[in-house]
Subunit: 338 residues, 2 copies
């Protein structure tokens, strides 16, 4: 339900009255979707910061936290859950090199968590998302399928739902997929943002509520050149493609319309840089868990995006599982899709 | 339910990496309290901006809007109400010389409206709220009693509630008080912020959920000098003091604990400047409806605030009524209260 007023960018960019500087800021808030309040706080923070990272911004000058406490929670639930959520949010902010200095809390029927991220930048600190050109390659920095994994995990407790998917997935698969989704949603896109500069990114966005195709379409619309995006590969948390298929039209994961939360960056990179980007992001010097896949190409077109008829599904093995399944698939090269 | 993380100020002030500039920002969101969606939008915007104005900041570089649409509204209700709220918010932002360039909308059981106001300032653009000294005078720029007026107005439709106050107030009084409250809540504190510089204000805050006493106490706590605030006069929308009294301990308006929404600024001014501030703010050059009253003094003390035993109630006549009742009371001088 993201609603950006006026401009089709992840963050707004406001020229300031002071010496060539720009104010870049973004806000996002939503409802908890994982059971672990600490992880939920981290996810909410990663999700807010992601809009800055999508513009290649690696610094954040300030964060505000937006919270609502549910009126349905007992005093005891509040005292345990809310501090954990706040702690998770603050820890992720600290990991992003920033801190939370303000905010607002209200009482509401539902829990809400979100925030505001703000930075004042020099022109070379951000990359406007409209310079893709034909021949560029599309890179994605987190696997898809977070919503499917979160829902499948809830269905473990709902027999009539579970029965619909139990033929294609085991309970252990679902637990692993859920953990993998949670780790991915909580991971900052900050390393990817920094590497956008190193490898000369032409445009980027982050994948959230509209799914990979929706955000690809939004990004295509913003391009200065007459280009279109074609997606050939879908990196998906292992087994979640099968779960989505078994659910008919509920998710649309293979059609690219399944919502993601705090998803990866979709980045348009010069072809010769894309494979280097994907290799570099996995370097241990950036910490564990970073991945990236080449998923498509930029061609001449009318500023639209599409997924090819039978996209290749890259089954992304959860960190908890053996990594062998992943090895075969994780190095899709530009050659293999063009 | 305002919850400021870490610091006792209305806005957070973050030193930036760039040439002596500071980022000042604030957020606030809440639930509608008046029936008119357009006015509710204006009030929400005025309320957010007020945190900047309380620091003597008159400019705002950017606003974000935070909205939730109630899931209980019909499609038709949504299509009429939400655009009006957004229009009101945008119009007030424009009046404040700024604009709304981003935001987030969610679905929720309740309607929520609020926003984020951000500005990048040079040091001379803001006034830190901690320099009150003994001998200063307290000035308030909007009358109190907004919550009482809003509630009394709701009670016109609830006979058992109305019966409790009908001896002290007429229906017309309540209608006028409600209109007056709405106009005051929707009015920007921007003129007052500008005059804080002209008249050398030493500290200020805005009056919202904690009532005049709560915010006076919070401001007193932040002072560098050992001072206390003593409030002698309470300017209150006409008849609302009587309504509050008739309701026992429900509001605490005369005790200074009745919540206000988008209330006035409480400003510590040098004694010789305060009367001039109050006269200047009424000048037609700033538009209609601006008022200010000297309501107390700053004395040596232990950083607390109190209201004297029998404060003088200044009955502030609504704009819709004849202004005669107000004339007698609106020029309390520092002499009369010290």
């Amino acid at each position: 339900m993201k609603n950006k007023f006026g401009i089709g960018m992840d963050s707004c960019v406001i020229p300031l009255r002071h010496g060539g500087l720009s104010l870049v800021q973004t806000t996002d808030f939503f409802y908890p979707l994982v059971e672990d309040p600490y992880m939920m706080g981290r996810i909410a923070c990663a999700n807010v910061l992601s809009d800055l990272y999508a513009m290649g911004i690696t610094e954040c000058d300030n964060m505000l936290m937006l919270l609502s406490v549910s009126q349905k929670m007992s005093e005891q639930e509040r005292e345990i859950i809310m501090p954990l959520m706040i702690r998770g949010f603050r820890d992720a902010a600290e990991e992003g090199g920033t801190s939370v200095t303000g905010g607002q809390t209200v009482i509401n029927p539902w829990i809400i968590i979100g925030g505001v991220a703000t930075v004042v930048c020099q022109p070379n600190e951000f990359i406007m998302p409209h310079n893709a050109i034909p021949g560029d390659v599309l890179v994605l920095t987190k696997p898809l399928g977070t919503q499917v994994a979160v829902n499948a995990h809830q269905w473990l407790e709902i027999p009539e739902r579970w029965n619909k998917i139990k033929l294609v997935v085991s309970k252990e698969d679902v637990e692993l997929a859920y953990q993998e989704a949670m780790l991915n949603m909580a991971m900052l896109n900050r390393t990817a943002a920094a590497l956008m500069h190193t490898f000369n990114a032409h445009a980027a966005t982050d994948i959230t509520g509209f799914g990979i195709l929706g955000h690809a379409q939004n990004l295509a619309k913003e391009q200065r050149s007459e280009v279109s995006f074609v997606i050939h590969n879908l990196p998906i948390i292992a087994k979640m493609a099968a779960v989505s298929k078994a659910c008919g039209t509920v998710f649309g994961l293979l059609q690219g319309t399944s919502a993601e939360t705090s998803g990866g960056l979709l980045i348009c990179l010069p072809r010769e840089q894309a494979a280097r980007f994907c290799a570099e992001v996995k370097s241990p010097k950036y910490g564990e868990g970073h991945q990236a896949w080449i998923i498509g190409i930029v061609e001449k077109g009318n500023r639209t995006a599409r997924i090819i008829d039978k996209p290749r599904i890259i089954e992304v093995a959860p960190r908890g599982a053996t990594a062998s399944a992943q090895e075969n698939n994780s190095n899709a090269s530009p050659e293999s899709i063009s």
